[in-house]
Symmetry: C2
């Protein structure tokens, strides 16, 4: 079978890792793909860094290994797109700019397969790209876009084909999980934990997308499309990050035999999709409670095969790169068939507004410590047809009582109505806004 | 694309589950495979039970749904093998008899793809069957043979292709794990836990293969072939079951912040394979320590992508069946390519004898409770060049001392030599044979 020729655009942490594996494992990859996998070209603005870091030959780089301008880079990219000898392009530039979207579209339109780790691009602008790939009979590999090394995409596409996925949940952002783990295990507050994450390379200088939940949201949107066959716009996905989590929230979770985690959660019930990214109180009997540090984990509940959990490294150079190389091998093996195969049509399931999710919740009230309060709060909750699981008075600070109500599955709409009624009955009783977090059993 | 036609041989727990999914999900499977997946024939000695249990139409069964004799069954099987319209045969008869081996070979020689959950057959007699499949350009699907619903086979074959597997370990027998979990969590002794496992359907009336470690050994042998590309004869695999585990062993593991588990373990180091199935003291910081009941889990350490853990249901009708159906879909999609692809040649790595494994071990000594014993034991261990990690006096029973030595990585040969020397120095000192178990960090 003829050689399968690769170009890499962007040779940073991930792209460089791909080049390294393609070089180091060339013989083995040849056997696995039943054809030679040839890395032909790399386009990178600053090759010297990459050459040194990943021990790559300079002549792989367009421009011979010297720094190049953006204009030169664009010229080299055009040459690659026009070349009849390149079969697959790895896009490891990142970001969801017009430039990167147009690049992905051009790769497809030039009849080259595309492999990318770009979750933002696929979650925010994926539909045009999937469409272009279909139109041009090329494949898109994006295993690396969701949870780095964990083979979650291929598991859905190739292993859960004899089943129906009912829910997918997980810990999909290593930075947030590292911060929450440090808050829980080392007693740090949020700022200390974030600082440590940055020092240890688990958080970027600008950690916004990680801690506000949007990075995790991108991954969940991609999984929803695959698992349920429906597209969800980022604006329709309810996302709450960990930026407002206090040490006392983490401590409280521990007191009730649980661990606070940033959870991606989606399920399909009666043809409707429920999806959210938010901090949840995960019971310690749930495996996800024990996934610590920068590790990621994805949990499926399937109709026939029950519960599955996949745990692994969600980021890192060689970790993410190994997923990209696996996509390359898969496409090299099966491209003739893959291009004809992507015909699973999308369905438009209704995306349920976050107010109407049915989940068990924990509501934490801070009130004045006077008799009668528990009665009022639980009465108002009961009047909204919410069944109460447990009521616990957790901690007392001077003259304030903090107590939590764990509910049976109910909606935020019901809970908000109950809180409004409490405030109406006794406007001064609640000190601050109650905290509401789902419980994951 | 033309229909893909299936026959099922044996409609018990697993075969019936396959028939059920193929029937219930027909429309969805058609879309996923890009062709219609048609269940054409089932051969089963006692159809009435299966028809009722799995809600199947009687006319799918050869013989119209009535009980048939073995001779009639053989005649129907021959018709299926001779039929040009059957593309794939699911073998869910089980066992590693000559009959089943010959059946598997005949399926391949009649140019039909084979899907099976038969771990004993593949582990003990696999090479002739893989060979026959290669010769006849057909595929063998055996996802269901290793840990039921967990997609471990496809993960190795299609997702870890951009990486090198360095070790594979796991909990691969639900019966043993259920028994050990009950001993640990409910304080039962072995016989009580086994009885409960049988009552709850987690152990067969004859649980021998489950508790003596051979069922787990079959699975490990299949994984070694895939992960390291080398065949291991069952006789070369060191296997110790849980039949001699006492409640005190389980209690002791808990005392040192660990959990006793029946572990399958294989790694490749310097071109040699180390493999064993035996009870291990799993540190509670290792995820496997928290895999309880009948759940299975497989852990990989890969060169580039680091640690992966896959957790799921290791047995059950619909769970195992869903893996078989996924294999059917995969073969229906990719058969044209798969038949040309299985050219990864096996290598003959040396299988290291269990005496020469390098692992950290816990050695538990029962001795007379007199001064000087610790010195003698640790001196003899040190003389064998074994580094000691910790020495702990665990429990004292009347006049006896029980103490444990945790070693740094060392071999059983060294440990056995140390014990011999202790016995030579003071023949009456050790009361009974010391227990030796690897530690899994």
């Amino acid at each position: 079978m003829k050689d399968f020729n690769i170009a890499i655009l962007g040779c940073g942490t991930v792209g460089g890792g791909v080049a390294k594996i393609l070089t180091e494992m060339a013989g083995e990859l040849h056997t696995r793909a039943s054809r030679r996998i040839q890395l032909k070209k790399i386009v990178e603005l600053k090759p010297p860094d990459a050459i040194k870091r990943f021990n790559l030959p300079a002549d792989l780089f367009c421009g011979g290994g010297k720094e190049i301008s953006k204009e030169e880079a664009n010229k080299f990219i055009q040459e690659i797109l026009n070349s009849g000898s390149i079969d697959l392009v790895v896009e490891t530039i990142g970001g969801s700019s017009d430039f990167v979207e147009n690049l992905a579209l051009s790769i497809c339109h030039s009849k080259k397969h595309l492999v990318t780790a770009n979750k933002a691009l696929l979650a925010e602008r994926g539909s045009s790209i999937y469409e272009a790939a279909k139109l041009n009979n090329v494949s898109i590999g994006y295993e690396a876009a969701v949870c780095g090394a964990i083979p979650v995409i291929k598991t859905i596409k190739e292993s859960f084909t004899g089943d129906t996925i009912e829910s997918v949940s997980g810990i999909m952002n290593g930075t947030s999980n590292y911060i929450l783990t440090m808050m829980q295990k080392e007693g740090m507050d949020f700022d200390q934990a974030l600082k440590l994450a940055q020092e240890n390379g688990y958080a970027e200088a600008d950690p916004t997308l990680d801690i506000n939940g949007h990075d995790a949201g991108h991954k969940l949107a991609i999984l929803i499309r695959l698992a349920f066959g429906t597209e969800i716009a980022m604006k329709d996905l309810s996302i709450t990050g960990i930026q407002n989590i206090k040490k006392e929230d983490v401590d409280f979770a521990r007191e009730i035999d649980s661990t606070l985690k940033l959870i991606c959660y989606a399920r399909k019930t009666d043809g409707k999709i429920y999806a959210t990214v938010c901090p949840m109180v995960v019971k310690n009997s749930n495996f996800l409670s024990d996934v610590n540090g920068a590790t990621n984990a994805v949990r499926f509940i399937n109709k026939y095969s029950g519960r599955h959990i996949l745990v692994g490294e969600g980021a890192g150079s060689s970790q993410t790169a190994s997923s990209i190389v696996a996509d390359i091998i898969f496409i090299a093996r099966y491209s003739d068939i893959l291009s004809k195969e992507e015909n699973e049509s999308l369905r438009n399931y209704e995306i349920t507004n976050a107010e109407y999710f049915e989940l068990p919740y924990i509501i934490t009230f801070e009130t004045e410590d006077t008799p009668g309060i528990t009665g009022l709060v639980t009465t108002c909750i009961g009047r909204q047809n919410i069944n109460i699981d447990t009521v616990s008075h957790n901690r007392h600070k001077t003259d304030r009582a903090i107590f939590s109500v764990a509910t049976m599955p109910s909606t935020l709409k019901q809970i908000h109505a109950a809180i409004a009624e409490i405030n109406n009955s006794n406007p001064k009783m609640l000190l601050g806004k109650p905290k509401i977090m789902p419980i994951l059993y």
